[in-house]
Symmetry: C2
């Protein structure tokens, strides 16, 4: 009866890095980030996931926002851009071989 555990190993992690990465490409509000990042993993991120992460990034001054209507449009700061580059470098160092292993 559907003992279909979809996947044993979870891919939970690196959310703040993903947010910063998306903000290097576009200005987005929380809800849009929840859509974009969620679509890559199969389901939209819930408010309880995205907003605490944005709060953390704001506190660390890696992102800032401007209120437009009821939305808060987020932008990456200069500090955030630097941070994102450093983290990306470390990320690649760790996962380089995982990525190269291209399945035919």
């Amino acid at each position: 009866m559907s003992n279909e555990s979809p996947q044993i190993i979870s891919l939970k992690g690196f959310l703040t890095f993903q947010i910063l990465h998306e903000l290097t490409k576009a200005k987005l509000c929380g809800d849009e980030l929840a859509d974009i990042i969620g679509s890559k993993k199969g389901s939209k991120l819930t408010p309880g996931t995205i907003y605490p992460a944005l709060k953390f990034l704001r506190k660390k001054k890696l992102v800032k926002h401007k209120k437009i209507g009821r939305k808060k449009i987020y932008t990456i700061t200069e500090k955030g851009t630097k941070e994102c580059e450093i983290v990306r470098k470390n990320f690649l160092k760790i996962f380089k071989t995982v990525l190269k292993t291209s399945k035919k």
Copy 2:
């Protein structure tokens, strides 16, 4: 003044995936895995990190081992191989764009 806070965003995560990935390339004992995975992030994984992770993978029958002297040589199982391929596919879906952004 070295305000060199090394990195604000952590890259904690995906350890079991990393272990499985390494075991698709070679048979290794726990200590060797701690070395290899640790070297990619800058410091060797401690016993308190690597052994619980191996215990989890054993319980899930994604890896098996053979005792050789004081070492336990780990091998990925068929189930583990399948799992690793699924997880890799999802991993790439999530982080594809991160990786493409190659810094010159």
